[in-house]
């Protein structure tokens, strides 16, 4: 194929430009190691051996990092308190683009265990739960289902997701892509609410990447198809350097932290 030839030509011209390197001695094990380094080991150890006191400290740092980013942190004592918080937000906030109040949420055990559907139904507020696209569907049917989900997500003023992790140092919510958990739930609605357990709080990106690269529990999916690191609501300072929240993504973001 022409493209393949082109590609070979492209890479060859790079090799020519690089000149005769110590090709044979190029450090493949350094470029793409197959074993965790001492530093990786240290990071993995830090995560697995974290004491209750250290976890407290992480939560404190998370709060400190979140405040200037307008990421609002609510540490709740139990599921009932989390449900109350969500319902309070639903009552207080109004849809940015007009129309009826609607919510969309990932189909995820943690979100389901909040039992939001019933109290919302009583108020006549729809709660859309997303779902994986059935691989058995014909392409047209799948496309229709996708369009339906997208329309619901776009019409919702609040989107509720969980998170894989949360990083204290930068107040970052970490989402790995997977079926049933559309990325746009954390993007199109004006308000994003993310739920995590306390044990999912890591110190920083270094710990996250060490886990994704080397921890048996996570390295299968690894970085996943699309890893989103979200640190607060959308913002811009493009007009005379004035900070405005809600440029394209959510205007407000809440992180609910549940006990383990």
């Amino acid at each position: 194929m022409a493209d393949e030839r082109k590609e070979r030509f492209f890479l060859d011209s790079l090799r020519r430009a690089l000149g005769p390197p110590p090709q044979a001695s190029r450090p493949m094990e350094d470029l793409f190691p197959r074993k965790p380094s001492a530093e990786d080991q240290r990071l993995l150890g830090a995560v697995s051996g974290r004491s209750e006191r250290e976890r407290e400290e992480l939560l404190r740092r998370l709060r400190a990092a979140a405040a200037p980013l307008h990421l609002q942190i609510e540490a709740v004592v139990d599921l009932a308190a989390a449900r109350a918080t969500v319902l309070r937000l639903v009552a207080e906030k109004s849809p940015e683009w007009g129309g009826e109040k609607q919510l969309v949420a990932w189909s995820h055990k943690l979100i389901e265990s909040l039992d939001l559907a019933e109290p919302l139904a009583r108020q006549g507020i729809p709660l859309w739960m997303t779902a994986p696209i059935d691989p058995g569907l014909a392409p047209e049917a799948a496309a229709e289902e996708r369009a339906r989900q997208r329309a619901r997500i776009a019409a919702s003023f609040i989107g509720i997701t969980t998170a894989d992790f949360c990083l204290a140092e930068t107040a970052t919510v970490v989402l790995r892509s997977r079926p049933g958990e559309p990325r746009s739930v954390a993007l199109l609605p004006s308000i994003h609410i993310a739920l995590v357990r306390r044990g999912q709080i890591l110190a920083d990106l270094k710990e996250l990447f060490a886990l994704l690269r080397w921890d048996e529990r996570y390295r299968g999916a690894g970085v996943s198809n699309c890893l989103s690191l979200i640190s607060g609501p959308s913002k811009t300072a493009d007009i005379e350097a004035t900070m405005v929240h809600g440029a394209h993504g959510p205007r407000e973001m809440f992180l609910l932290i549940l006990p383990d």
């Binding site: 890479l11 430009a17 997303t130 059935d134 990447f209 690894g222 699309c226 959308s234 004035t242 394209h248």
Partner: protein
């Protein structure tokens, strides 16, 4: 390739300097970011030395580019994505145009990307009937205004809120307001429609990670996440150098990128993308294409003097401290890249000869090197470029400059090695300079041609009445007598 106007540097600089609004905006920007960046480097847990670590990581990546790009491409293909290697900007553009044709694309939404600016993507797609919408608020503003970006990170820095107000009232039909939140809201509303209707999303790549096979994008607004999530096709463009080997190395560069670009610990939205959506996922693009662009970069790679420039991640920290950029603004540099990074990279990508004024305009003060998140020695390369221009260079197609400068130095060398002649000339000069206009403290205000250029904006010290050599001799005699 998009239009190159580097030969108009001097003229455009004058225009920039004469524009008080631009000057105020730029000094505000440099005030905020320039200092903040240095402070942010100091606050790094590893200390400011992390920049040197980053430099080493980037150099290693550049030295192994072929391996890294192969790995990246293999991973992305294994995940169902396409990778296209484009030797020239034209190839890159026509690859994308081909996808647009095949998919019947009418509307494309774009995240800010300097490389697409460099290769002139928008105009080609537009000529094909595709509406291309820039979605970064700053880029959107200047696209509506029909201009080009003047800063890598803050493209609309040269626009005042009043100008934006006029523009939005005219183009978006909203009531006139100069309130940034309301203006932002208007753009948010208009662009949301575009995101939801777009057939194609186009983005750049801040940095790729070869080990895992991901590209990544960073934004605060969320526009890139929109553009890479909602449309059915995502085409990402990257300069061939924007890659590191491992994820832990990616982490270091990412942190420095965010600090250098906007004094943040991390951008609001960082996405690592490894391919199209998986079966069962309800959103994310069904097609993902990565276009790796050479467009002259392998020439930098081949030249040991300039290979270091490929370590650049276009964070724009060097713009935010550059005294020259701060006065003349980004448009003067005549191409997608401005400031110190532009002064080096633009001539190398678009012609050293025609861009000869760019490296001469910079002051070599060294502020850019200190601010550079990747600790790149920009002043060294500015000097290399000047040397090439003076002496000529076949690789870069530069003919040696006319003999004037060289001859002047030759004459000078002849003079100083003939003290008698030298002294006679000095004495003559000391008398003749009486004819010249004097300013403060007797300094000469204007030299006659061909030296008049020197005194265009500064005075020249007058020759001493008695030359130092004779004063020295006299003192020696006096001291000897005493």
């Amino acid at each position: 390739m998009s239009a190159v106007r580097t030969e108009r540097y001097v003229e455009e600089s004058r225009r920039g300097i004469a524009d008080p609004v631009l000057r105020r905006a730029l000094s505000g920007l440099q005030e905020r970011f320039g200092r903040g960046t240095a402070e942010a480097y100091r606050r790094l847990p590893e200390g400011p030395g992390l920049r040197q670590t980053a430099h080493a990581i980037r150099e290693k990546a550049i030295a192994n580019l072929d391996l890294l790009l192969e790995r990246l491409a293999a991973r992305i293909r294994a995940n169902g994505g396409e990778v296209f290697f484009a030797a020239t900007g034209e190839e890159a553009v026509s690859y994308c145009a081909g996808i647009a044709r095949r998919r019947g694309v009418k509307l494309a939404v774009k995240g800010k990307s300097m490389v697409t600016e460099e290769i002139g993507l928008n105009s080609v797609l537009a000529a094909q009937g595709v509406e291309v919408v820039e979605t970064d608020l700053g880029e959107y503003i200047i696209q509506l205004a029909g201009e080009s970006p003047s800063h890598i990170i803050a493209p609309a820095i040269h626009k005042t809120r009043n100008e934006v107000a006029d523009l939005f009232a005219r183009k978006l039909g909203i009531p006139y307001t100069t309130d940034p939140p309301r203006l932002t809201q208007a753009a948010r509303r208009a662009l949301r429609e575009k995101f939801l209707a777009a057939d194609m999303g186009i983005s750049g790549v801040n940095l790729a990670c070869a080990e895992t096979g991901h590209i990544s994008t960073v934004s605060n607004e969320g526009n890139i996440r929109m553009a890479t999530t909602l449309p059915p096709v995502h085409v990402a463009f990257m300069g061939l150098e924007r890659i590191v080997a491992r994820l832990d190395e990616y982490e270091i560069i990412l942190r420095l990128l965010c600090r250098g670009a906007s004094v943040q610990d991390i951008g609001t939205y960082v996405s690592l993308i490894g391919g199209p959506r998986r079966p069962g996922e309800s959103d994310g693009p069904e097609e993902f294409h990565l276009v790796v662009v050479d467009n002259g970069r392998s020439r930098l790679l081949a030249d040991p003097r300039f290979r270091e420039m490929l370590c650049c991640i276009r964070c724009a920290a060097c713009l935010n401290v550059c005294p020259v950029y701060g006065r003349i603004g980004g448009h003067a540099y005549g191409f997608a890249y401005s400031g110190p990074v532009g002064a080096v990279v633009t001539p190398l990508l678009t012609g050293v000869q025609r861009g000869r004024d760019l490296c001469r305009g910079e002051t070599l003060c060294g502020a850019c090197k200190d601010a550079c998140s990747m600790d790149i020695d920009l002043p060294r390369m500015l000097l290399e470029l000047r040397a090439i221009l003076a002496a000529g260079d076949a690789t870069w197609g530069v003919k040696p400059e006319g003999g004037l400068e060289r001859n002047v130095w030759r004459i000078w060398a002849g003079l100083v090695s003939h003290p008698g002649l030298y002294e006679r000339l000095l004495r003559a000069g000391a008398v003749l300079q009486g004819l010249l206009p004097r300013g403060v403290a007797g300094w000469i205000r204007r030299l006659p041609p061909p030296l008049s250029g020197w005194t265009q904006s500064r005075d020249f010290p007058p020759l001493a009445k008695a030359p130092f050599r004779s004063r020295w001799a006299r003192r020696r005699r006096e001291v000897g007598r005493g």
